[in-house]
């Protein structure tokens, strides 16, 4: 090297941008190898994190069996949230009638503090369900619908409505899109959130009528040609619905319903929905409205694009539109808007398992937080200790909120920007505020954990390492760990460096690690050695989770 090069070292630069092709494959059923890599890809996309036990379970199956099993959950719907909060005495209407540990969801209560406690209780409960998900797509789909039919608990206010709305999404998560849309339209929580309860013949409120078309059914694509007239006409159809909080349901009042005929635009073939009167008018007109909307070609395409961005990648170019969206939309229409056949076709496809489709998602905050807990088998308390568990779930809720994904409270009715805001999409999750928080979260969970009610949740790296095939070999330990934690592995150079720096304390002899690990297994009471091994494994996983690769799914 010449002297000048020494004095002015050449600056290397990071790659700036990469122009990446989209996969050109289509919906043909994938017939390639269905090995661990494919199973991990499938599970990271359809569940929150890929647990090793789940990977081992699914890798013995065919792609069709695996996807079918994910799409057909056998577990019953979960028990409702319980009262884990404590009343303070000065409330207008304390809910002392509800015993601790029993559910509050059927109890009518107008006290603002109680409702606030119930909304928080609902979120903790929900976080618990995601953490404890069974081997199915149900939680990912429930979250999909929450993002799609987005509502905010802070806006709805009534915790019982929030639970009821959520249950609707959960129950229909793998059902029929049209049926779900129909139910959401008169759901009490939605009637509060988009002002449907104030939509009357004399003072129409267009909020739901607009979002039904713009966000829930037709979207904003170039072929979505509904008009302002259609918004007004839909609003008229939707007039007359009210909520009865004491029975926690909505009802129709014909006297405030607009019974005139509603004229729609050419986008809807100039349909006229006949104005109706009487107690059945509301239901009949809504049915007609949805039949009209769901007759357009655009609805199926729109929801398929939403599903694609949820499960595959955000970039929908002409190739993906032609190879995936259009045929998926056809499947959806052919199956009268049943969701499962679409998911089945997508998740079993060559396109889904295309190399270009793998690793391209940036983990959502829930994916990161829950995925870390699940992949490392973080142990929570038995169900009977709901007090502790709700406290811990609350901690995780606070973290996903810090990272800008407050479950139950997306930013607005459009849902999270990561799933619709071009051109950034997923990249919106990562910014100068949230990326350090992601690292801080994994660091804390690996080093100190979180203590609540005298119990602790922590990532025990050594326990995770024990589940790997050959943790006494430092190379295998690193390779196997990365296989489960990453989608893009590290270079051999970097792996060798990490092995030397972290596992071998700078040594070059692998046997030193092997001896320490074997001693750890044989004599865990050897405190000094156990501390050494646990700290090394801790530092290894901390390092892996701090690298950018960990943010991909």
């Amino acid at each position: 090297m010449d002297r000048r090069a020494f004095l002015f070292p050449k600056k290397t630069t990071l790659q700036t941008t990469i122009t990446a092709p989209t996969p050109s494959t289509g919906l043909t059923i994938y017939t390639g190898t269905f090995g661990e890599d494919e199973v991990i890809h499938l599970l990271k996309r359809t569940m929150f994190g890929a647990k090793k036990a789940d990977i081992d379970y699914f890798k013995t199956k065919t792609v069709s069996h695996a996807v079918d099993e994910l799409l057909n959950p056998t577990a019953p719907l979960p028990a409702p949230p319980v009262k884990e909060y404590t009343d303070t005495t000065a409330l207008t209407q304390p809910d002392t009638n509800i015993a601790a540990g029993t559910t509050w969801v059927n109890d009518y209560n107008i006290d603002g503090t109680i409702q606030s406690l119930r909304r928080a209780s609902f979120k903790k409960w929900w976080m618990g369900l995601i953490i404890n998900q069974d081997r199915s797509i149900r939680e990912k789909m429930t979250m999909f619908w929450h993002n799609h039919f987005a509502t905010e608990t802070n806006n709805i206010g009534n915790g019982n409505y929030c639970y009821k709305h959520h249950t609707l999404l959960r129950t229909n998560a793998l059902g029929n899109f049209k049926t779900l849309t129909r139910a959401v339209t008169t759901d009490p929580g939605m009637l509060v959130y988009l002002n449907g309860q104030y939509n009357t013949a004399n003072a129409p409120d267009e909020n739901y009528g607009r979002e039904l078309q713009e966000l829930f059914c037709c979207g904003k694509g170039i072929d979505s040609q509904y008009t302002e007239t259609d918004v007004k006409a839909a609003a008229k159809v939707l007039t007359g619905w009210r909520n009865n909080a004491s029975v926690m349901s909505s009802y129709f009042t014909s006297s405030i319903h607009d019974s005139t005929n509603k004229q729609f635009s050419a986008f809807y073939n100039n349909t006229i929905i006949q104005g109706k009167t009487g107690t059945t008018a509301g239901n009949l007109e809504i049915d007609a409205l949805l039949t009209m909307i769901f007759s357009t070609q655009e609805v199926a395409k729109y929801i398929c694009r939403r599903l694609y961005r949820w499960f595959v990648y955000y970039d929908i170019d002409a190739t993906v539109e032609a190879n995936i969206i259009t045929p998926l939309a056809n499947i959806l229409r052919t199956n009268n808007y049943d969701i499962k056949p679409v998911l089945s076709a997508l998740l079993k496809s060559e396109h889904f398992f295309d190399t270009l489709s793998k690793g391209s998602q940036i983990k959502s905050p829930v994916d990161l937080v829950v995925g870390m807990c699940r992949e490392f088998n973080v142990a929570f308390q038995p169900d009977t200790d709901y007090v502790t568990n709700y406290g811990m779930y609350n901690y995780l809720v606070s973290w996903v909120t810090n990272m800008q994904q407050s479950i139950g409270d997306p930013p607005d009715v459009s849902g999270w920007k990561a799933y619709y805001q071009a051109p950034q999409f997923y990249e919106i999750w990562i910014n100068a505020d949230t990326l350090p928080k992601r690292n801080q979260f994994t660091d804390i969970m690996v080093v100190n954990g979180y203590t609540y009610n005298g119990k602790k949740v922590i990532v025990d790296g050594s326990e995770f390492a024990k589940t790997l095939p050959n943790p006494s070999d430092p190379n295998a330990l690193i390779d196997d760990s990365l296989k489960y934690l990453y989608r893009i592995s590290l270079s051999a150079t970097l792996k060798a460096q990490i092995k030397k720096d972290i596992l071998l304390s700078g040594q070059i002899t692998d046997g030193y690690w092997t001896d320490a690990w074997n001693t750890f297994i044989a004599t865990p009471t050897n405190t000094a050695n156990t501390t050494t091994v646990k700290n090394k494994v801790r530092d290894l996983y901390k390092y892996f989770m701090d690298l950018s690769e960990y943010q991909l799914a």
Partner: protein, 526 residues
């Protein structure tokens, strides 16, 4: 303006609120107000820097510093690997030991009075395991005691007691400690968090090391990975200060090529000259684990170990020259350590097995040059089981450097080293201006009195929500969860900790309030 004047002037006209820092009552001021800046200064003011050089793998001290005084016993113990007497590098005015012939740079530094050789450094009941011995050296623990904090980490926690809450701030914009390497070592681990930052994180500081991160593939995944890496680079809390410090220095002396220790020290010199106030740097090199063929049979002055020592010597010499060239020689002292020395008697493979005590080097312009201690005496009838006993406890070196170089108040040394150790004549102490302890960062948890004998009152700030105060002992064991409850109203609360029959020593009070955590060091005395 002197710091004391700063405080006086700022206090005029301050409305008094009941908040006391070292007896001064202060009013709430923004972090950038002159008063707060003054109060955020570290506990001790000094521009001294300590560079810790780790020689990984257990360096063979007897072939690095050759015991000329007992040369025949040395040859007898190591017939296949001894360095010939006429090849040993001699010191001016000191003939009892000499250096390995590969270490000409260090010979010059010694003769210039910039190198202190400390013979036979170790500790009682030495461990022969690389991992355990490394942990002992890094934590400063006794052999039979497991500690989870590093000695330099405890020091930095003492100087910057609330890190990372409130950092970087206007008086400490820079990393507290920098490790060149992929992870920060146990040496820099504080009671709650690592006090150091590593700057080979390939996404953040690759350009300093002239290395590149793994190439991202040309796929959608590669596109997203590249985006995240760019964001990681932009958001590293200290990225810009470290980079601007590095960029401020455009000329350095020539360092040896193909010498990773030299590469690391070159960055250290650059960052110090570039203006970082970082107190502690750590670099590492090795492996020195020379079980076999550590010398060339035909020429014992060459071979694996000689190459390693040459790189150490060349790197340290270039670094010292660079410090002089950059005009910062007065501010920097370094030390070397290795987890153990090697066995006195060589093995049949032309190498040496894991041993015990070994020499340490302390280097720098402000070092009191020379050799400290008796020449290690090898028995004439040495056996394979024999190990070199230690003369100096390694924690004496830590304690001396903390006290006489980093100017730590002597009364606080015990809190940092967990015991009292003998101080050694290693560095010129004249430049340590000791000042009173002070506060910095954002105090979320404090205790009074501290040190305490039986009980102490812990004051803590919570933002509301679940709040936990744990009392943790030096080995990381949770003694009790003093507070573990939901707190409705944000504010400052207090609780008394009764230490009962717990032994005297260092305890930590750890505050956890959702995402926030902070640790307070408390000392129980008799």
């Amino acid at each position: 303006m002197k710091r004391s004047e700063f405080l006086k002037k700022s206090l005029i006209s301050s409305a008094i609120i009941p908040s006391f820092i070292n007896g001064f009552s202060v009013k709430a001021l923004g972090a950038d107000s002159p008063l707060m800046r003054a109060l955020q200064l570290p506990t001790t003011e000094t521009d001294h820097v300590l560079v810790i050089v780790q020689l990984q793998g257990g360096n063979d001290g007897l072939n690095m510093v050759i015991p000329l005084e007992y040369f025949s016993n040395y040859v007898n113990a190591r017939p296949n690997i001894f360095i010939p007497e006429d090849k040993v590098l001699k010191f001016n005015n000191y003939d009892k030991v000499g250096l390995n012939p590969a270490m000409t740079g260090l010979q010059t530094m010694f003769n210039d009075g910039k190198l202190k050789v400390i013979n036979s450094v170790g500790y009682p009941q030495p461990s022969f395991s690389h991992f355990r011995a490394t942990d002992i050296w890094m934590t400063g623990s006794d052999s039979n005691n497991v500690i989870n904090t590093g000695w330099a980490g405890r020091y930095l926690n003492y100087e910057y007691p609330n890190f990372p809450n409130g950092y970087p701030n206007s008086s400490m914009r820079d990393p507290l400690a920098i490790q060149i390497g992929s992870i920060t070592s146990l040496t820099l681990q504080g009671p709650a968090v690592s006090m150091g930052m590593s700057i080979s994180n390939p996404t953040s500081f690759y350009s300093l090391l002239n290395s590149t991160p793994d190439t991202a593939p040309a796929t959608p995944a590669g596109k997203e990975l590249t985006f995240i890496r760019q964001m990681a680079q932009q958001t590293q809390a200290y990225a810009s200060v470290v980079k601007s410090a590095a960029n401020a220095v455009t000329k350095q002396v020539i360092y040896p090529t193909s010498n990773s220790l030299g590469d690391q020290l070159k960055i250290v010199a650059r960052l110090i000259k570039g203006g970082l106030k970082t107190r502690v740097y750590m670099v590492s090199y090795g492996s020195f684990d020379t079980h076999a063929n550590q010398v060339n049979a035909l020429d014992k002055t060459t071979g694996t170990h000689a190459n390693l020592l040459k790189n150490v010597s060349d790197a340290l010499k270039a670094f010292q020259d660079d410090l002089q060239y950059l005009g910062i020689e007065d501010r920097v002292v370094g030390m070397t350590f290795s987890e153990f020395g090697r066995r006195m008697k060589s093995n049949a493979s032309g190498g040496t097995d894991h041993g015990a005590a070994a020499p340490c080097f302390v280097f720098g312009k402000n070092v009191l040059g020379g050799v400290l201690g008796d020449t290690p005496n090898i028995p004439a009838n040495v056996t394979v089981a024999d190990n070199l006993p230690f003369q100096y406890d390694f924690r004496s070196i830590y304690g001396t450097l903390l006290s006489n170089w980093l100017c730590v108040d002597d009364n606080s040394l015990q809190q940092l080293l967990l015991k009292n150790y003998q101080q050694l004549p290693l560095v010129n102490t004249a430049s340590c201006n000791k000042v009173n302890p002070n506060a910095s960062g954002i105090n979320l948890i404090t205790n009074y009195p501290n040190p305490f004998t039986s009980s102490t009152t812990i004051a803590y700030t919570t933002a509301g929500g679940h709040t936990l105060i744990q009392i943790i002992d030096g080995s990381g064991r949770v003694i009790t969860n003093l507070v573990d409850k939901e707190i409705t109203t944000a504010g400052i609360y207090s609780i008394t900790f009764n230490s009962g029959a717990l032994p005297a020593g260092v305890y930590y009070a750890r505050l956890q309030n959702m995402a926030l955590q902070q640790v307070r060091t408390m000392l129980k005395v008799r």
